[in-house]
Structures are given as C-alpha cells and as structure tokens.
C-alpha cells in the first residue's frame, strides 16, 4: 500500500535528500548572472544561466561582504555554494557562499606571468626603446579594416606631415587575433615602412586580450620599424604597450605622435630661418662695428698726424743720406782730382823717360864709335880721347837742348792743337789725310775734322793753286 504524505512532508523529504547529497553541495557552478535584484536587506537574488538552462540563486548579505566585487547583470561568474529547497514554494535554489568572476582570474594570472617573463628578458627596458623617425614617409598600421582606429588615424593624419598610410588589416579580437596582429607587423616590415602603429579601440579585458599574447609581444620586439601601441583607452595597459617603443593613449594620439602637425613643421621652418637671420644680423652688426673701428682710425686728424710723423721720418732719413753722401762725395771728388793730377804727371814722366832713353842711346852710339876708333891709332889716342871728351862734354847740353826741342815738336805735332787754332783736317773715305788737291776727285766724299767734331762733305769743284 502506498504511503500518503502531505505536500509539506514531500518538500521536506526532498530538502533532506538534497542536503545530504555531495553532488549538489559545496560545488562550483559556472554561469552568467541575469535578473539580478538587490534587496534592502543586502541580499541578492538572481538567475544563473548558461546556453541550455537556468537556476534561481541567492547571495546573502553576509556572503557578499566577503567578496571583492559587485555582482553585475550579464557577468560571467563561478559561484561556490549548495543547492537548497525552498519548502514553501516547492522550488530549489542555489545558495551562493562566494563568487569569482569567471575567466578573469585566469587571464590576470596569465598577464602577470607573461609580464614578469618578458620584463626579466629586458624587453621593457627604456634602453630598448627606439626613437621615432622625425619625418616618416610610410606609416604602417595594424588594426581592423572596419574599426574606428584606422578612421581616426586617417582623419588625424590629414592635417599633419604628409606620409602614406599603409594598413595591414588584422583581426583584433577573438580566436586567432594575436596571430593575425603579429602577421600584420611582419608583413609591414617586409614591405618596408618607417614606423608602425598597432592598435584597437576600447573594450573589456577579454576584447583586448590579443595584445597580451606573447606572439604579439614577440612580433613587436622583432619589428625593424619602431612600433607605437594604441590599445583601448588611456587606462588600459597591455603587454603590447610595455614592449612597444612608444605607447600612445589612443589611436588619434598615435597618429599625432607619429606625424608632426603642419603648424609645428611650419613654425619649425620659420624658427630655423629666424635663427639664420638673427645670427646673420649679429654677424653683420659685428662687421659694421669692426668697420667703424677701422673708420675711426682713418679720421683726417689721425691721417694728418701720421703724415706729419712720416714727414719727420723722411726728413730724418734725408739728413742721414746727406751726411753719408756728403762724406763720400767729397771723398770721391778728392780721389778724382788726385787721379787727374796723377794722370797728367804720369804722362809727362813717361815722355821724359822716353826722351831720356833716346839721349842715352845717342850717348851709347857715340861711345861705341869711340871704342871702335880706339883701335885705329894708339898714337892719336890721347888727341882723340881729348876730342872725344870734348864731344861728350858738348853732347850733354846738346841732349838737353834736344829734349826741349823734342818737347816743343811733340806739342806742335799734336793735330788737335793745330785744329784748335782754326785749321781743319781733311780725310778721304779710307781715313787717309788729304794733303794735296791732286789726291781727291770731284764728287768724292771727304771728312772734315775740326776742333770739336767732324763733317762729311762732297767735293763739288777743285782748283789748283797758281
């Protein structure tokens, strides 16, 4: 006979069975929170669900106080607790002792682990950071083809340095995103760009997760072109941000960092020119000053001053020259007159010497004559000797007289003396003196020599003296 129980008894029996079953006690249940209600008592009532089922759940205020986050609608959680029967309603519910955000804990641990590992390799060192090119001509971008990132970058770049933008489209979230991003980086490096921007817009930690993957970090590290990361919002930090050369807060910020503004470039150009003008100007002023100094030294007063100085110097020099020259001129003059007197004296002496030689020659010839005659007659010796002596005695004065006569004749024979008396000397074309009218022909050329010169003449007519 079957037992009859009340509804209350039934529900109490079920409650006891559930309470005694390890299969539904102290277990972790993963699901998503929905229909969340928080009561003024501090208790939370919600539904935990997955794709196929759902269960009522309660989180009492006491348990909530031991948790470090606020349960939110649609939050994926791991709830620890037990199944309990609500007898009055005949329904069961999951009583949550504590909760963890599902996945996040794992992701956070993975993030920390990779961060420590890469940091230990020195990949975050400031010394590794490369400077960005000042004027890139090709900017590579790795991001979604359809997202706001590429749009923001293109918009921002339009007012900046005119570089080409080359997009390597990549999947930036979900399965395979990390591989897609790292492939984009290596592709841009292969075609050659000056700098690479890697990024995506904001999102949950799961959405940004690809940028925390090691494969993306490695691709950034080995990129030849410097990498600027622009992932999520300003507050989000990913591993990509740590290993990139520059971290930009947003994609727009990345474009502004990579490409300098036109205004900035323009004013930089102007600054350079102003600097040139300024230093040119100051150098020019310096040149003017130098010129002024020189100009001052060239003033008329200074000029006259120096002329007077020069004049004094010249006077002094002239004086010295006169002293020296005066001495040497009078010296030379006396030497000259000395030479002159010596010249006429020598000539006179020479002439006397030659006359003396002739006299002695005469005396010698007389002596020889006497010597030869001596042998003729011994008898006449004394007579002859006497006569000879007498002759010899006569010859001395004769010779002296002869000398005088010769001197006078020499004087008279000097043709120049004759000419100085007004006579002329005529020579023919051979230079022979013409003494007879017979030795020249009419029409021949003759030279007429006078005291102070000569003249060429032609014989026009000749006439013999009668």
């Amino acid at each position: 006979m079957s037992e009859t129980v009340t509804v209350t008894q039934l529900n109490n029996r079920v409650k006891n069975i559930l309470a005694g079953s390890p299969a539904v006690n102290d277990i972790w249940v993963s699901g998503e929170i929905s229909n969340l209600k928080r009561y003024s008592s501090g208790h939370y009532y919600f539904t935990l669900k997955d794709e196929g089922s759902e269960v009522r759940a309660v989180l009492f205020a006491g348990s909530r106080s031991r948790m470090d986050f606020e349960p939110m609608e649609n939050m994926k959680v791991l709830a620890f607790g037990r199944v309990d029967m609500y007898v009055a309603r005949g329904s069961y519910q999951f009583v949550v002792g504590t909760m963890r955000k599902s996945g996040v804990g794992d992701l956070y641990m993975r993030f920390e682990a990779l961060k420590s590992k890469l940091e230990a390799e020195g990949l975050f060192d400031q010394s590794r950071k490369r400077p960005l090119p000042r004027y890139p001509t090709r900017v590579g971008v790795v991001t979604s083809r359809s997202g706001a990132v590429i749009h923001d970058i293109i918009t921002t770049s339009s007012t900046r340095f005119p570089a080409d933008i080359i997009l390597a489209p990549a999947q930036v979230q979900g399965e395979g995103a990390a591989e897609s991003i790292s492939k984009g980086i290596s592709l841009l490096n292969r075609i050659g760009v000056d700098v690479i921007i890697v990024g995506r817009g904001g999102g949950s930690i799961e959405d940004l997760w690809a940028f925390n993957e090691e494969v993306v970090a490695r691709a950034i590290v080995s990129s030849k072109a410097p990498v600027v990361s622009a992932v999520g919002h300003e507050t989000d930090f990913t591993i990509a941000d740590f290993v990139s050369d520059v971290r930009a807060p947003t994609p727009t910020g990345a474009a502004a960092i990579v490409l300098r503004g036109m205004d900035e470039l323009s004013s930089e150009l102007d600054t350079q020119l102003v600097r040139i003008q300024r230093s040119f100007g100051s150098a020019q002023r310096e040149r003017h000053n130098r010129l002024d100094v020189i100009d001052a030294r060239l003033s008329p007063e200074r000029g006259l001053e120096s002329v007077a100085m020069r004049r004094m110097e010249v006077d002094d020099l002239m004086h010295r020259v006169q002293v020296i020259c005066g001495d040497s001129m009078s010296d030379a003059r006396s030497r000259l007159s000395d030479l002159g007197s010596r010249m006429s004296m020598e000539r006179a002496l020479n002439r006397i010497e030659s006359l003396r030689n002739r006299v002695e020659g005469l005396v010698e010839s007389v002596r020889l004559k006497v010597e030869s005659n001596r042998a003729v007659s011994e008898m006449h010796l004394s007579q002859v000797s006497d006569r000879t002596d007498a002759m010899v005695r006569m010859i001395g004065p004769m010779a002296a007289a002869d000398l005088n006569g010769l001197s006078k004749r020499l004087e008279s024979l000097n043709p120049m003396n004759v000419l100085s008396r007004g006579y002329s000397m005529v020579t023919d074309s051979d230079g022979s003196i013409v003494t007879s009218i017979g030795s020249i022909d009419t029409g021949s050329n003759i030279t007429i020599r006078m005291r102070d010169g000569s003249a060429e003449a032609e014989v026009i007519r000749k006439e013999l003296n009668k």
Partner: protein, 81 residues
C-alpha cells in the same frame, strides 16, 4: 652656383632638407664665417626652407591596404569611408 644647389635640394627627401637646413643654421650660429660664406649660407637656407614648405604644401598622402595572398603582398587603395 645656387642653381646647382637648388637642383640638388629638389632631389632631397624632406628629412635630408631639414637636416641640411639645421646644419646651415648651426654653421651660421657658430660664427667665424666670412661675409661671402654667410650670404651663401643664408641663400641656401632660404632655398631649403622653400623646398620644405613646398613638400608640405604639395604632398598628397596615399592610403593603401596591403594583403598577403598565397605568399605575395598586394597593395590596394583603401577606401577611407
């Protein structure tokens, strides 16, 4: 001579022009160069400045997307919108 320089500048990249301009400025600021040289430097600086300005004014950016299909890289114009 400045004609030659202008031709040389035309073949420079923007970066090279800026570098040349900076060097001229430094040279002039260092002082000790004579008047002829400083006029030459100034003229060259103006040529470089004008060239840089022209690059900025005239250049048009190209926006491309690159793809890799079966190992070869292809560039295609990227539609901004």
């Amino acid at each position: 001579m400045n004609g030659d320089f202008a031709a040389e500048v035309e073949s420079m990249t923007f970066e090279q022009s800026m570098k040349a301009l900076e060097e001229l400025v430094s040279e002039l600021e260092a002082g000790g160069i004579d008047l002829d040289r400083s006029i030459e430097v100034y003229e060259k600086a103006v040529i470089l400045r004008n060239r840089c300005r022209r690059v900025l004014d005239e250049s048009e950016r190209r926006i491309k997307a690159i793809m890799e299909t079966s190992g070869t890289v292809v560039e295609e114009d990227f539609d901004v919108n």
